[in-house]
Amino acid sequence: MKKKLYVARSPRIAARMLGEEMLVMSGQGSTLFTLNPTATILWQAADGATPLDEIVERRICSEFEVKPEEALRDAEALAEDLAKHGILLISEEPIASHAVVQEQHRP
């Protein structure tokens, strides 16, 4: 059986909603990113405690017309990409809450 993945927002990044997009500044080299609406949902839900498949089912499949397996595959690829840039932490175990930044304010 495939192991569950947990994702958490990195405590080293800066982030803010600007309109419909999330602005993210990675501590690694002061690089600025913008997250599209799907990546923003994933980032906001990444609390370190909820498994990725649950996030996909509850937050992504409910919002977009997409098959759960396909959505999970895309979400895993996206999470790995965000992790490479230091924006998300990924683990096969739940991630301690002190390593997670709180959810974003929306102006």
Binding site: A15, L23, S30
Partner: protein
């Protein structure tokens, strides 16, 4: 500015979001720099609780880049408590400091809190010059040691070098020091008036020949011939351009809660102790006036040869008496860059010129009577 940051800034402008704020935590300082524009006495700084409340309001308003400055930020005993709270709200934090109070422990904490960059003021690579400006013996050594601690932990450090009469021959040395330390380097050739309007600090401005040399230095300006070329003519589009981001996507809050368009633009728009941050940002009459100004509205500047390329600071213009007028410091920069005087400089020259000598010709018909005996003295009379 990166293309993405420019795009975000344009979007923030369209959405009316204050993307970037400078918050001065204190005006107290452990240095007493000769060119400083601040009154260092504490006239009732915001408390820790007040600052935390403000930070929460700023996050809710959409502020992303938060610059914490002073005075000297480390003079506040609650500095790390404030910083920790700000990072929990996921601001992108930039610090401005003299770094004198940063040791290994403080540097490690800044790294752990994910600070984006730390700007450190360095005036010279020579202790006798730097320490004479800060009036603190040993300050250069301590600031440089702090930069080494910060760099050893992988933090981004920017050395900010303000140019003035005292250090105008040293900027190449500071640049070399920045290279050696692995820090970025910025140079600011403008000394500003005191925030209370006092203009005594302006005597320290480096002057035209220093600016001219600077504007030919390709490290700063790229292709010097292009940079110093005569300005292009004003287009219809440029007449509609905004003077700068002050009050549009950026603003400043003082340690006493006063809200200004920019740290260099002391036009009070409200106080965050009495009003919500977002209410001042959205509804302040003063900010609305600042936002309404376009290049076409600027007296003089809209007809000036430098209009399209001028770095005119609306805050400095305000301190000269008219936020729609010219900023003479920027006129002087444009002149040093291109050799072409601005409309404002020409007008000033005209006003300060000594009276022109006018040759008075003697009228033969009356020479022999009314003006006899005055001889040639009449030819030197001025009007």
């Amino acid at each position: 500015m990166s293309a993405l940051m420019q795009e975000m800034s344009d979007r923030a402008l369209r959405l009316g979001v204050p993307l970037s704020v400078q918050l001065d935590l204190t005006y107290r300082c452990n240095e007493q720099c000769v060119h400083c524009y601040l009154d260092h006495d504490d006239h009732g700084e915001m408390t820790t609780a007040e600052i935390k409340h403000l930070l929460k309001e700023m996050a809710e308003a959409g502020v992303f880049i938060l610059t914490l400055s002073g005075g000297e930020i480390f003079m506040r005993k609650d500095f790390f408590e404030i910083l920790e709270y700000a990072r929990a709200l996921t601001f992108c934090i930039r610090l401005k400091t003299n770094a004198v109070l940063i040791r290994e422990a403080q540097a490690a904490r800044l790294r752990d809190l994910g600070v984006e960059s730390i700007q450190v003021s360095i005036y010279s690579h020579r202790p006798e010059v730097h320490d004479a400006i800060t009036k603190v013996p040993g300050s250069l050594r301590r600031s440089v040691n702090a930069i080494r601690f910060l760099k050893s932990l992988g933090l981004k450090v920017v050395i900010a070098n303000v140019l003035m009469t005292e250090n105008m021959r040293d900027y190449q040395g500071v640049r070399a020091l920045a290279d050696e330390l692995g820090a970025k380097y910025t140079l600011d050739p403008t000394i500003t008036p005191m925030m209370d309007g006092g203009r005594s600090t302006l005597d320290l401005n480096a002057g035209e020949s220093a600016l001219r040399a600077l504007f030919r230095d390709e490290f700063f300006v790229g292709n010097a011939d292009e940079f110093c070329a005569p300005p292009p003519a004003l287009s219809e589009d440029s007449m509609e351009s905004l003077p700068c981001s002050a009050g549009h996507t950026a603003c400043y809050v003082s340690p006493y809660g006063e809200f200004y368009p920019c740290v260099q633009f002391p036009l009070s728009c409200g106080n965050v102790r009495q009003q919500r941050f977002i209410d001042i940002w959205r509804d302040s009459v003063q900010l609305k006036e600042v936002r309404s100004i376009r290049l076409r509205d600027l007296s003089g500047c809209s007809q000036c040869a430098h209009g399209a390329t001028c770095t005119r600071c609306p805050g400095l213009a305000f301190m000269e008496g008219n936020m729609r007028g010219p900023s003479t410091a920027d006129c002087e920069k444009s002149y040093a860059r291109t050799g072409i005087p601005s409309k404002n400089l020409l007008a000033k020259k005209e006003k300060s010129s000594p009276p022109r000598l006018v040759q008075i010709q003697l009228v033969p018909a009356i020479t022999g009577s009314r003006l006899s005996g005055m001889g040639s003295s009449a030819s030197a009379a001025g009007v």
